[in-house]
């Protein structure tokens, strides 16, 4: 690598079979792509991938900066790649995806020495694919899933409920069919018949021992095995908002790859991969997906655009926003499914990563993985402007969950181009710079804690602990006092509104402004999610008035958690948001007649009817 030469930005690519394209990121090294050594990164599965996405991006960038060509990618039915978990022979498709990725990296960069790096199930798939070929220079296995059966048991506990009758498994928002579970149940890396590569680095997890059975088996297969226990695994797979890049693991892996690189002779040639777009058929409609970059301030935003082929002037255009730190696939990969479904109905959908989240780099002076950044409204505006400019849609909609819901609401309030915002489970309505996720979602936390205390009053155990002075009186007292203060604040604000006194951070004023302009705000809450109560408290009487006038809607979904991890609750969420999105603007989306006529017709402002 030439000193001081910047590493090119990662390039999004679609590759693999026509109609079943895989999505990936090609990280070319700084010398213009003439790498002689490559690395294919194999993701973990499901929520582990969501948590580790940022860390693996960092690892890929660091490897490219060290002169290694890298391809990280989504398996068939995962991430941005085609298909879904219901397809048959999923385990074979995943292993085939690894082969496709290896071949693509070799053809894209002309190199012939490829190593594989896998995390959790990714390490397993990498080993299974490598066992079937002889051109893998080395395998890095981070916290590998050695036994498929043991891993399925972990997922079962994670799901929290007994397995389904058909053998399928739903865990942390991701599904495995009964057939896939059966296939995984038979996977055991200790029974490989040949070593996946001559050189194997196993990075053990730092929170639990994984045993030495697999390294022993590999040594018996004449592999050169090295085991390390660098810190960082547990922090890497923490919830996405709190996950940390495991720098010790990244540095250690790069040192090992440099050593392997010296040990094998290069054979380089140069070729190119195709454009970052793909075509598939969804519900009988030809749908095109394209990976794209948008300029926003001093940075670029990554997004995936899904549209019917040859689309011009669609009725609906939708921007989907990050749910917390989850990248552009959305919570439980829901955004991918909805984007394809809605494109088949004629809509244009952009799944956006705001700057510093997912695959969008942070602003020059900003940090990454900040879920409530001040630049979010600017980022959303850039996405809306792009859709307006390129497609001239009749309606522009925003969809977000958690922090994405917050950004959707703020963008809708501030941007007259927005037809509606679908705001799912916001946890705050006024985020201030300097607040932190741990301590400053106080309004929501206070509501949850006091509600829990209220429920506890009816349990004998609570009173027993009270009598034995085993309750945390300090925390309880603080929460109750804050709740009382909040109630006073909200009453005071209601009074100020009656007297037409302007106050700061007035949610009712924001909702009124959006309604006056004809922008529809549609709230959807999992029943019991604290945002619902917050909306009623902070919005005051305006919420009921606007709801009665059908200029604002609130839908509640029973039995759901904050991110709709269970498929059954997700289906009900989809039904609600499709009703809200595809209901003509002149009709109330909640199916009720307005209690009194709106002050100004929404359809008159927007001018676009279904």
């Amino acid at each position: 690598m030439t000193a001081g030469e910047p590493t090119p930005a990662p390039q999004p690519v679609f590759f693999g079979p026509v109609g079943a394209a895989l999505f990936g990121w090609l990280h070319r090294p700084a010398d213009g792509g003439n790498a002689d050594f490559g690395l294919v990164i194999c993701n973990p599965f499901g929520f582990e991938e969501v948590c580790a996405h940022r860390s693996l991006r960092h690892l890929a960038c660091a490897a490219a900066a060290a002169g290694i060509a890298v391809l990280r990618f989504d398996y068939a039915g995962c991430g941005n790649s085609s298909g879904d978990e219901s397809q048959p022979r999923m385990l074979k498709r995943w292993i085939d995806s690894v082969h496709e990725a290896i071949d693509t990296l070799e053809h894209a960069t002309g190199l012939s020495r490829v190593c594989l790096l896998g995390l959790r199930l990714g390490a397993t798939l990498a080993a299974l694919a490598a066992e079937q070929r002889s051109d893998i220079a080395g395998l890095v296995a981070i916290a590998p899933v050695v036994s498929g059966r043991a891993w399925l048991r972990e997922l079962r506990l994670l799901s929290g409920v007994p397995g389904a009758a058909d053998g399928s498994l739903e865990s942390a928002g991701f599904m495995l069919s009964g057939e896939t579970c059966n296939a995984l149940d038979g996977v055991d890396l200790r029974r490989l018949e040949r070593a996946p590569a001559q050189r194997v680095l196993i990075v053990e997890r730092d929170d639990l021992p994984i045993g030495d059975a697999w390294p022993t088996a590999l040594i018996r297969l004449d592999a050169d095995v090295r085991c390390e226990r660098w810190p960082g695994y547990a922090a890497m797979v923490a919830d996405p908002q709190r996950a940390q890049v495991p720098h010790a693991i990244v540095d250690g892996v790069l040192r090992c790859l440099a050593h392997w690189r010296e040990a094998a002779p290069p054979h380089a040639r140069e070729t190119l991969v195709g454009a970052a777009s793909t075509l598939s058929v969804v519900d009988g409609t030809r749908v095109r997906e394209a990976a794209l970059w948008l300029d926003a301030g001093d940075t670029r935003l990554f997004g995936v655009l899904t549209a019917p082929q040859g689309c011009h002037g669609p009725r609906h255009a939708v921007v989907m926003l990050n749910a917390g730190s989850v990248h552009h696939i959305g919570p439980n990969r829901l955004w991918v499914r909805l984007a394809r479904q809605w494109a088949a109905r004629g809509a244009v959908v952009l799944r956006l990563d705001i700057a510093g989240i997912g695959d969008s780099p942070p602003p020059r002076a900003g940090a990454d993985n900040v879920v409530y950044p001040t630049h979010a409204t600017r980022d959303v505006a850039a996405a809306l402007a792009f859709l307006q400019r390129e497609f001239e849609p009749g309606e522009l909609h925003l969809l977000g969950l958690c922090s994405g819901a917050y950004h959707a609401l703020k963008a809708a309030v501030g941007n007259p181009a927005v037809t509606s915002a679908l705001v799912i489970n916001p946890l705050t309505f006024f985020w201030k710079e300097g607040m932190t996720l741990n301590v400053d979602l106080q309004d929501a936390d206070t509501l949850q804690m006091t509600a829990r205390y209220r429920r506890s009053l009816w349990r004998g155990e609570t009173w027993r602990r009270l009598l034995h002075c085993r309750l945390d009186f300090k925390t309880i007292g603080r929460a109750v006092a804050r709740r009382a203060w909040d109630a006073l604040r909200y009453r005071g604000r209601d009074l100020a509104r009656l007297l037409h006194i302007a106050t700061r951070d007035d949610l009712a004023a924001e909702l009124n402004a959006a309604a006056e302009r004809g922008t529809r705000i549609a709230f959807v809450f999992a029943s019991g999610d604290p945002g619902h109560k917050l909306l009623e408290l902070q919005g005051g009487r305006a919420v009921k008035r606007l709801t009665d006038q059908c200029r604002l809607s609130i839908d509640l979904i029973d039995g759901a958690d904050h991110t709709f991890t269970r498929a059954e609750t997700r289906e009900r969420l989809v039904a609600v948001i499709e009703r809200l999105l595809f209901t003509p603007a002149s009709q109330p989306a909640n199916g009720r007649a307005p209690a009194q006529p709106p002050l100004r017709s929404a359809s008159g402002v927007r001018g676009a009817q279904l």
Partner: protein, 89 residues
């Protein structure tokens, strides 16, 4: 004299190391709700793996539920049942 920790003490030490509790696992009520005490689903998986290693047992699929891992008491009951079953076998 037997210095081996009691099963409950072993459960508590596993929770201390892997449960990510916001309260002290060593003094927590045996029937206190571990999920309300800060243990999330991911931590419960690590607790399960560590318990299996500590007690040399394997939780069968039907016991991989939140109710089994809800309290020190319920974990102790499950481990006791599994230990008895495995010693009989």
């Amino acid at each position: 004299m037997n210095d081996a920790p009691s099963p409950e003490a072993l459960v508590r030490s596993v929770l201390l190391e892997h449960g990510r509790l916001t309260r002290d696992a060593l003094t927590l009520d045996a029937d206190a709700d571990l999920y309300q005490a800060g243990m999330n689903s991911h931590a419960s998986v690590n607790v399960m793996l560590a318990l299996e290693a500590a007690f040399a047992v394997e939780f069968p699929d039907h016991m991989l539920t939140r109710s089994v891992f809800r309290s020190i008491q319920s974990i102790g009951d499950a481990v006791s049942l599994l230990s008895t079953t495995s010693s009989v076998q």
